[in-house]
Amino acid sequence: MNQPANILVIGAGISGIRSALDLAELGYKVCLLDRAPAMGGILTRLDRQFPNNHCGICRMLPMFDRDNSEEFCLRKGLSHENIEVLLSTEVIAVEGNPGNMTVTAVKQATGVDADRCIGCQECEKVCPVEVPDTFNAELGKRKAIYLAVPYQMPNQRVIDLQACTRCGECVKVCPTAAIDLERTPETLTFENIGGVVLASGTGLFNPQDMDIYGMGHFPNVVTSSAFERILSSSGPYQGSLIRPSDQHPPKKIAWIQCVGSRNPMIGADYCSSACCMISIKQALFAKERLGSDTQTTIFYMDMRTFGRDYQRYRDQAEKENNVAFVRCRIHSIEPNEEEGNLKISYVDHSGKPVNAVFDMAVLATGKDPLRKLPDFAAHPGIIATDAVSEWMDIGSSVVSASGVSERLARMLSSAGIKPEKQATAPLSDKVAGSPHLQVVLCSCNGSLDKVIEENQLAAELKKIPGRIDIMQAKSVCDAEGLDQVKEILLNGPANRVLFAACNAQVFRPKLKQLAAVTGIPKEFMDVVNLRGLTENAASHDLLGEIMNQLEMRANRLFRKKITPADVRPIQKTALVIGSGPAGLSAALALAAQNIKVVLVEKKETIGGNFANIHDAQIREMIGQLMDEAKDHPLITMHTDTEVINNAGVAGQFVARLRHANGAETTVLHGAAVIATGGGKADLPADTLADNKIISLYDLEAELNQPGIDAANINTVVFMQCIGSREEPRNYCSRICCLKSLKTAMKLKELNPNCDIYVFYRDMMTYGESEKFYTQARAKGIIFIPFEKQEKPAIKIESGRVLVEGYDPVLNEPVCIEADRVALASGLIPNPVDLVASTFHVETTQDGFIQEADSKWRPVDTGREGIFVCGLARGPVRADEAVQEGKAAGLRALRILARDTIPASQHSAYVRHAICSLCERCIAVCPFDARYVDPDLGRIMVDPVACQGCGVCAAECPNGATLIGDFEEYGVMDEIEAALG
C-alpha cells in the first residue's frame, strides 16, 4: 500500500474483514487493526457452520478485480492491495471530526520483527517455556514463542511476553535475527482519517468468570467454543472427539443453552442469537464422528431457530438424527462418582424428575456481559457494527458490516473524500520481449548453506532450457538484499523473476514492492519455498526435489503472457425492484453515491407494508425513507410497473419495464437489486369461526385506533406460530413473537387489569429484543409453551371462545375464556416467479429468492450483478430489511462505482479458431459467465462473473477454452517437470 489509509477498521473478525473488503473494493485505502496477534477473530476457531455444515469463508473474497487480493483461504489471512493489516495493535484515542480524524494506537511488542521472520519455527523448537494453548481453549500446550493461529500466513511467530523467561534460546537460533526481546510497544498515529469502523465484537462469555456449572473445576465441562476446537482437525486432539479428562470418546453429551445469556441477574438480559444453532450443529457433528448411537441432549429454554432455513435444520436433527431436546433450565452440574462423569438433574416433558449422567457437558456461551465498548466508541465519525453490541450469526454480522460500510462510504462522500484512482506502475518495455528469467537463490543468511550446495544448484539450473540468469544472495529478506535484486532487474535484461527463498505467502508482499519499482508485473514473479523443501531433509534426493520445483515454476514463468486489458464500460444506473424498506434503502444507498436509480414498484404506492405498520418508530423510519426517495433527484420511480425482461451481464444489463397502461420502457443498467418483499400470511378460514378470533395484525390495528377503549378487553390469548414452523411453511417469520409482546404490552397499558396469556412454541426474542420478553413477564403476562404436536385447542361454546391448553408449570390442563384470541400467522414472500425467471436467479422451496450463500454472501444471488434483500430473501424485521437494503446497495455499488472492470488474471478465455460452439462450457459454468454472442457467432466470457474455476476448460473437448495462469500447456509442462 503506497498511500496512507483513509479508513480505519478496528477488529479483524468477520465484521471487520467484511467491512474492510467492502471499502477496499470501492477503492478506499483501509487499515485493518486487531489487538490480537492474528486476524480472523472467532472465525479462525470454527471449522464448519450451520445450517449446511459447510465451510465457505473464502466466499467473502472479492468476486471481480480479483488480482487485487490474493486468492487463498481466508483462514490464512487477508491480502488486498488496499488493505493494510496491523496486528497486536489497539486504538487508544480518537480525535477530530468525520473526514479528518486523528487516531492513536499502540502496537504491542511481539518480540519478533515481522519483516524478518520467515516462519521457520526454529525458535519454537528450542523454546523451553510451555503454557496453555489459548487458541485451543487451553486444552493443549504451546510454547512462549508461537504461531497465534495455525493456518496464519505469513506464519510469523510472536512471543507471549508474559510467559517468556527471556532465556534467549530463540535469539540464538533465529536465522534472520528477527527476535528482539527488548522491544517496547510503539505508538502509532494515523492522521487524516476519514472515518472509523468499530467492529471489535462482543467478546465471548467465560463461565469461569462467574463460576457457573463447574466450569474450570470439572474437566469435562467445556464451552461451546472449546468444543469447536475439539471437533477441529487443527484442534488439541487433531480432530478426534474425545473428552479432556481421560481422552476417551464420550457416549453421552449434554449441551446447556443460555450460559451467560438471558440472565438479567448477571447483567445479561439478551439472547446471544446463534448459540441454539451452534449447539444443534455440534450435536450433529458429535453423532457423525462418534456414531449415531451417541446420545446428544440439548437443554434449552427456547430453541431460537429463527433464521429462514433453521427450523428445518432443527427438525432434521430431532427426527432423523435423534438429537434430544429437553426444555429445562439446568440448575447445576454435579460430579458423578464415576471418574469424570457429570450428573444433571432436570424435569422432563411429563413433569417427572430425572437424574441423568453425562460423559461431557458443553456450555453454550455467547456475548460477554462484562465486555464494555471502548471510551471512544461514541466519537463522531466512528460507526459501530451491530456485532459490537449483539452476538449474532455470521450471516447477520456480514449484513450488518456491509450496512456499516455503506454508512461510512456515504459519510466520506459527503465529506468530499473520494477513493483515489489506483496508480498502476507502468510496465517495463522489457516485459514484452522474449522471456528471460532471473533466478535469485537466497541462502537465508547462510543457514541454507548447511543443507544445500548453492553452486551445484546454480549449475543444475543452467541446464533448464531458456534464457536464465542466476544470482546468489545472502538474504533477500532485508533491504540490502532486495535492493541488489532491484538493481539487477532494473539494469539487466531479465523480465521474469523466480526466487528460491522461503514461504511464498511470507514473501509475496515483497514481490508487490518489486513490481512497483521495476515495472515487471508481479504475475511474472514467483517463489519456490527452498527453506520448506530443505526442512524435508530426510528426502532421498534433495537436490532433485528442489530442481523439480524450480523447473516447474520456471516453465510456468516462461509461458507467461500479458493479457490485454478488457475495457468494458459500466452502465452507471441501478435497477431496484420493490419499494419497501429494503428496496428504498438500497436505492438511497446508491443515489447517495451519485448512481442513478430506477425504482420499480408493482403496486400503486411505494413503501411496501407501510400501510399495515403501526409501530410508531418503524413508521417513522420507513416514512423518512419514502420521503427521501421521493425527493431524490437521482431516483426515478415507476409505480404500477413490472420488470418483464432482463438481459446482459453485470455492468451492462438491458431491462424492459411494463407499466400499468401497457406501455413498455427500456432501462440500461449495471446492477439490479431485488427487493420484492412480502406480507402477512392469511389465516386458514376455519380458524376464524368467531369474531373474537382475529389475526395478530388485526388486534394490533384495533389497539392502535385513536381513542380505543380497551376496558372491555379483559382476557386476551395470543397464539404463536399459526401455520409457521411446520410444513409446508416450515420457517420462523421472525416478527410475530416481538409483535405479540409489543401488542400485549400496549394492551396492558390501555387496560392494566387485562389478563394476557401467550401460548408459544419458542419465544423468538433474539438479541436485544429479549428485553421485551423480560419486561412482559414482569408485567404479569403469562407465557405457556406448547409443542407442535400438542397445540392448544380453540373452542366455541354458546358464544364463548375457550382456549384449552396444557400448562407445564402447573402440570395440568388450562382453559381460558378469551375476549380476544390473536393468532400470529407470520409472513410470506410476494410471488417471485416472474422476477426469478427474468433475472435467472434461484428460489427456495418456500418461494423466497435464494442468495448465493446465506452466511458469506447473504445479499448476492448466484448471478453477479443481481442482488437481493429484505423479505424477498427471507423473513426479516423492518430494521433488518433496511440493513439488508444498505448491504445490497453497497454490493451493487462495487460494480457501479467503477468506470471499467478489468478481467482478472485467473479468468477463462476462448481460442475461437478451435471452438466448435458445442456450448458444453456454457452448461457447466457455475457463475453464468459464458454466453454465445449471436452476432459474432462466438462463445463470450463475462470477465466480471468469471471466477476462473476452470470447469469450462476441463470440459472443453477441443481445448479451446483456457484459464489465465492455468493454461493446459503450462500445467502439462509442470507435470512433466515434476516427473522429470
Binding site: D47, N52, N53, H54, C55, G56, C58, R59, E71, F72, C73, R75, K76, G119, Q121, L147, P150, Y151, M153, N155, S232, S233, S234, Q238, G239, G532, E535, N536, A538, S539, H540, D541, E545, N548, M552, G862, H906, V924, P926, F927, Q947, G948, C949, G950, V951, A953, A954, E955, I963, F966, E968, V971, M972, E974, I975, E976, A978, L979
Partner: protein, 144 residues
C-alpha cells in the same frame, strides 16, 4: 531397470485445490506433520479444472500414483467444481485401466483447509498403497 521393493521411491503427482487441500498441506507443514517427500504437489484453483489429460499425462510420464485433493462437497469456492470433477473421476478410472494402469493408482479425497492431520494421513497412506503396488508399468516401457 526393475527396482527392488525396498528402495522403491514412488513418484506421486498431487493435484490439489488451492482453497482447501493446499491450505491443509501448508498447515501440515507449519504443524510439523511430516509425510514422505515423494509428493510433487501441483496447485490447481479447483479440482473442477483438472482436465483428464493431466492425469493421463502424469501416468504416461511415469507417475506411480496421482492424488487429487479437493474440498468437501458443499465447501467448493466455485459452488460445485469438486463434484464436477468427481463425475469425471469414474470415467478416468476406466480410461487409465485401458492404458494398463491399476485404477487404485488414482485417488480422490476431500481434505478441508483445517485438516492438516488428514492431509498427512492421506499422503502417507497413498504412498504406502503405491509402494505396495510397486512401480508403475509406464516406467521403462513407454517413452512418450
Amino acid at each position: 531397470m526393475v527396482k527392488s521393493m525396498s528402495d522403491f521411491q514412488p513418484k506421486i503427482i498431487a493435484l490439489v485445490c488451492n482453497w482447501c487441500t493446499y491450505t491443509a498441506a501448508d498447515l501440515a507443514g507449519t504443524s510439523r506433520l511430516s509425510y514422505p517427500a515423494n509428493i510433487r504437489m501441483i496447485r490447481m484453483m479447483c479440482t473442477g479444472m483438472i482436465d483428464p489429460k493431466y492425469i493421463l499425462k502424469a501416468f504416461l510420464d511415469g507417475a506411480d500414483g496421482v492424488f487429487i485433493g479437493g474440498c468437501h462437497p458443499g465447501d467448493c469456492h466455485y459452488i460445485n467444481g469438486n463434484l464436477k470433477f468427481k463425475k469425471r473421476m469414474a470415467g478416468m478410472e476406466a480410461i487409465i485401466k485401458q492404458f494398463g494402469f491399476d485404477e487404485n493408482r488414482l485417488r480422490l479425497r476431500w481434505i478441508g483447509a483445517s485438516e492438516g492431520p488428514e492431509f498427512q494421513h492421506n499422503m502417507t497412506d497413498f504412498i504406502q498403497t503405491i509402494q505396495d503396488m510397486g512401480p508403475s508399468p509406464a516406467q521403462g516401457i513407454m517413452v512418450l
